[in-house]
């Protein structure tokens, strides 16, 4: 059966990569809408919420596009995939831009990486940019066919620190151990970019497109 998949476009970052990758894994008759129209988002069968850039700009863009309600409603009612800033803005508060109020779906903070060094004593660069391992902290349908400790592509300087430990579905080490994946009911969100993570990323997106939570 054909599905509609909305990729939320609020002007933050390059959505072509995301929509191309979804297209690549979706069924031929699935419809993909890259859209900022709240109605299309509410009507879609599943929703992808990407995002790049600074927290304050993202929140301003969400509000300017009047997407607050549509995002929160989709996040609590249908298969929903947050990516990068699309994960971070679901928390309550970010340290970025001298402190930014976020959407507040999940209690917790978004924090800047502390200065730290690797085992050889080299200073860890910020942003974390590149391929790092994800520990699958619990089974989840979106991990289907993906080995534990698989590497995914990350680009970020901030990470989420949720108050509810049961939200965590994956962790990654970069100086500290941080939450790289959260999941609850119909929602799954990753700090890494599945659309840029080669075969493992495509597998995760395919799992999402077929997910029946």
């Amino acid at each position: 059966m054909s599905k509609t998949i909305a990729v939320i476009d609020y002007g933050m970052g390059n959505l072509r990569s995301v929509s191309k990758a979804i297209e690549h894994v979706a069924a031929a008759d699935d419809q993909i809408h890259v859209t900022d129209d709240p109605e299309l988002i509410l009507q879609a069968d599943r929703v992808v919420f990407p995002g790049q850039g600074a927290a304050r700009d993202c929140m301003a863009a969400i509000s300017n596009h009047q997407l607050n309600r549509a995002v929160l409603e989709a996040a609590s009612s249908k298969p929903f995939l947050g990516i990068c800033m699309g994960m971070q803005v679901l928390m309550s508060f970010s340290e970025e831009n001298q402190g930014t109020q976020l959407m507040g779906l999940f209690p917790g903070q978004v924090r800047h990486f502390p200065e730290s060094r690797d085992a050889q004593g080299a200073r860890l660069k910020i942003p974390q940019m590149g391929w790092n391992r994800v520990s699958q902290t619990r089974p989840h349908p979106l991990w289907e066919g993906i080995e534990d400790q698989t590497r995914f592509y990350f680009v970020h300087s901030y990470y989420v620190d949720p108050e509810q430990p049961e939200l965590v579905a994956g962790t990654t080490d970069y100086g500290i151990r941080f939450t790289s994946v959260i999941a609850r009911d119909n929602l799954f969100a990753t700090q890494f970019h599945p659309e840029k993570s080669a075969d493992a990323g495509l597998r995760l997106l395919r799992n999402f497109v077929n997910w029946q939570p």
């Binding site: 390059n14 850039g53 974390q128 940019m129």
Partner: protein
């Protein structure tokens, strides 16, 4: 732990890969899409396209190359060469590039870097630095920024320049030693180390790779976060997978 990245670089002129690419199992080694597909299947961590098209009539071709590659290769893509305005950046990102590398335009108009990073985000702006050693034998090491393929000095100190570009928002530095570029005798490790220690953002080492040990040296001695190479991969002297296995055997963390 975060893996060190291996990035093959393709020089593209009017939509075709130049400087020769030789793979036995590739039908058309000049087709950037086919070459990118091949590097992706060998495990490249990213791919960089350097557009060296001289004629402005042919400049649009790189956009189509990026569009095609982005439609089937799902790893980060960087495009450099001729990026002079925010409109150039936007066009490349819309075509499917994840990052753009700004080189000469940053030297002539540093504010462009600030403008591009504030508009598109630091994560997608790489500043490319072409540096040449200007200190003599026995003097403390010093490198200067050069433009026009290493022919024109700018008087800018490479380390200070790298710091300034990071202050202006650059998310990554692509560092090429103009002394080593094309020599195959290895990276300028002292330069790589100096820049890597001077900035907080990741540094990609480039220029001079002739064998796999050079890649290891760039990371271990130079402190680079990623290594970029062209000819050793193009001529199929080594595959990317071989390079990664070699690095892993030397204790470098890579994605296999």
């Amino acid at each position: 732990m975060l893996a060190k990245r291996i990035i093959p670089c393709l020089d593209v002129d009017a939509g075709r890969v130049v400087k020769g690419v030789k793979f036995v199992d590739i039908r058309d080694a000049g087709d950037p899409v086919e070459v990118a597909r091949r590097y992706n299947s060998e495990g490249a961590d990213e791919i960089t396209f350097l557009d060296i098209t001289a004629s402005s009539d042919d400049r649009e071709t790189i956009v189509h190359v990026v569009e095609q590659v982005a439609g089937e290769v799902f790893i980060p893509l960087t495009v450099g060469g001729g990026i002079r305005t925010s409109e150039d950046v936007r066009r490349m990102l819309n075509a499917g590039a994840d990052k753009v590398a700004i080189n000469t335009a940053a030297v002539f108009n540093p504010e462009f870097v600030r403008e591009a990073t504030s508009r598109f985000g630091s994560q997608c702006i790489v500043v490319a630095i072409d540096a040449k050693r200007t200190s003599g034998e026995g003097e403390p090491a010093k490198w200067e920024i050069f433009t026009h393929g290493g022919r024109k000095p700018t008087g800018l100190d490479a380390i200070k320049w790298a710091r300034k570009m990071v202050e202006y928002g650059a998310g990554e530095i692509l560092l090429t030693s103009m002394d080593r570029d094309g020599t195959k005798i290895g990276f300028d490790l002292e330069l790589t180390r100096a820049i890597s220690d001077a900035v907080t953002v990741p540094v990609i080492a480039s220029g001079g790779v002739g064998n796999l040990q050079h890649l290891v040296d760039g990371v271990v001695q130079g402190g680079a976060d990623a290594v970029l190479a062209a000819s050793i991969f193009h001529f199929a002297e080594y595959s990317i997978e071989e390079a990664k296995r070699f690095m892993a055997a030397q204790g470098v963390e890579v994605r296999l």
